[in-house]
């Protein structure tokens, strides 16, 4: 049975005075093309302070491109992004000082130990040696890696590397943490540990942008979710709002879970690109 896609949950209204207000990220109609390929086509959303905002989408939906633009790693072709009131193009340097980034691929120096990796990246933030040592110990403890701190990263399992990558993203005590599919390729125990860490960070007031293609992760962690497909936001709202989505079919069905909503909105064709 064909399902008509319908966007029923409008993005939240943007407000002003972001630095002192509750909006941490404002994304306004951004587009991004790579040659003739339009990876992102007019995405807008707002992330408020202290929430976990999920970007949910299939492969190639534009999640990583969006997060890379917020992280200043890519510039939007059009539109604008502000992070903590700072423009990500014109004030990129200041934005970088206040965000933590955990890329989709594990990004660590394999020949260095965990503590050396943390120290190296922390030195880019001019934290000062005592603060770096304190922060590194805290985060290694938090991620359950303290006992292995002096081992080369190349001896770590995939899950340990993922947790260390998150620790690297937290070294500068960011106001905004960008997590790009942080559970890809990890075992269930590490995945659960990562979830608990993220929930703990949220309790401490950290704002998090979390991209994933797994419904259960979005359901468990995210306060607001934007479902994106083919470079566009197709729905945005709280989990409850998304579950309340109804099709325009005559025979109205209430979706049983986020997975069903997701498939209704994005279709069932394979995304191999």
């Amino acid at each position: 049975m064909a399902v008509t896609q319908q966007v029923v949950v409008a993005p939240r209204t943007l407000t002003s005075t972001p630095e002192t207000g509750s909006d941490v990220v404002k994304v306004n109609g951004i587009t991004r093309s790579f040659g003739k390929i339009e990876a992102v086509r007019g995405i807008s959303f707002t992330i408020t302070r202290g929430e976990i905002f999920g970007l949910l989408g299939p492969n190639g939906a534009g999640k990583s491109t969006t997060i890379n633009m917020i992280a200043t790693y890519l510039r939007p072709s059009s539109g604008s992004i502000s992070v903590l009131g700072l423009d990500t193009v014109r004030q990129a340097q200041q934005v970088k000082e206040r965000i933590g980034v955990v890329p989709q691929e594990i990004a660590l120096y394999n020949d260095l130990t965990a503590i050396e990796n943390l120290n190296f990246f922390a030195q880019m933030y001019d934290l000062g040696e005592p603060m770096i040592q304190k922060r590194a110990k805290e985060l290694l403890d938090l991620m359950g890696l303290y006992e292995r701190r002096n081992d080369a990263v190349k001896t770590y399992s995939g899950g340990m590397k993922r947790r260390l990558n998150i620790a690297v993203g937290l070294m500068n005590n960011p106001d905004l943490l960008l997590l790009d599919e942080p559970t890809v390729g990890v075992d269930p125990q590490s995945r659960e540990a990562i979830f608990e860490n993220i929930e703990g960070l949220k309790k401490n007031g950290l704002t998090i942008l979390y991209t994933t293609q797994y419904m259960e992760e979005a359901e468990r962690l995210c306060d607001h979710i934007a479902i994106i497909d083919e470079g566009k936001v197709v729905a945005i709202g709280t989990l409850e709002q998304l579950l309340a989505l109804r099709t325009t079919q005559v025979e109205v069905q209430r979706p049983r879970g986020l997975a069903e909503v997701f498939l209704q909105l994005t279709g069932k064709q394979l995304r191999d690109n």
Binding site: K96, I99, I106, Y109, M124
Partner: protein, 241 residues
């Protein structure tokens, strides 16, 4: 500046915690030693010309190998994304990496001073080596090698495949090396230009014979700055390309 030093320190550590630095340094010293000994013994003169004539050829191959992974490997491993989303500037990344490989090259050159000491030791009673041209040759080898390494850093920024970066570096270096040979083909201003940019002529014709001219120093420093600048632009261009 501290970011640059941090990056340079990390790169130097990477060199010396892997076999790369040791193997390449050993190869550099053995090959230079062979040409040094061949010239000194064959001509029975206290000279290091054999080694200095060989250094550009060795560096044509060694510089791309030393520099090929500096940025390309960061791209491949994903760490470049972390570096470029931290407050460190693109210039600090490029200059830090360049300084690391330059320091390694200087260490290699310093080891070859042993050959000069041998000359002093065994030929000292007959007047010993003439140190002026030797020191200017060292200075020239530093400038020429530094230029080759800057080319390598630039080409490493163009790709996430170190081997491809190395290949492009060899091609650019060879083109600059052989440019002067085409002076007669292209008459006029362009021919003169090709002759002026020939990368090894100033080394062989001036610095190796003890002539240190400011214009030659400026030429090599300019090339270093140009290639490092292009590497910085190449990194920055990732944000919009």
């Amino acid at each position: 500046m501290s970011d640059t030093a941090t990056i340079a320190g990390k790169e130097l550590r990477s060199y010396f915690t892997s076999p790369v630095a040791y193997v390449l340094t050993a190869a550099f010293l053995v090959l230079n030693g062979i040409f040094f000994a061949g010239q000194a013994i064959g001509s029975s003169t206290a000279t290091m010309d054999g080694m200095f004539r060989t250094i550009p050829v060795l560096m044509l191959l060694l510089a791309p190998i030393l520099s090929m992974r500096l940025i390309a490997e960061e791209q491949r491993s994903g760490t470049l994304e972390l570096l470029l989303t931290s407050p460190v500037s693109d210039a600090a990344v490029v200059v830090g990496k360049y300084l690391a490989v330059l320091i390694l090259y200087i260490v290699m050159l310093l080891f070859t001073l042993f050959y000069g000491l041998l000359l002093q030791l065994y030929a000292g009673s007959q007047g010993g080596p003439i140190w002026g041209p030797i020191l200017s040759s060292y200075f020239g080898a530093l400038l020429l090698g530094g230029t080759f390494l800057a080319i390598g850093v630039f080409t490493s920024s163009l790709t996430d495949n170190p081997a491809v970066g190395a290949f492009i570096a060899v091609a650019i270096t060879l083109a600059l090396w052989l440019a002067g040979n085409f002076q007669s083909v292209f008459q006029g201003a362009f021919g003169t230009f090709l002759n002026q940019i020939a990368i090894t002529d100033r080394y062989y014709n001036n610095l190796m014979v003890g002539v240190v001219a400011l214009k030659d120093v400026i030429y090599y420093l300019s090339l270093i700055v140009i290639f490092l600048f292009m590497a910085i632009q190449s990194l920055g261009s990732r944000r919009w390309r």
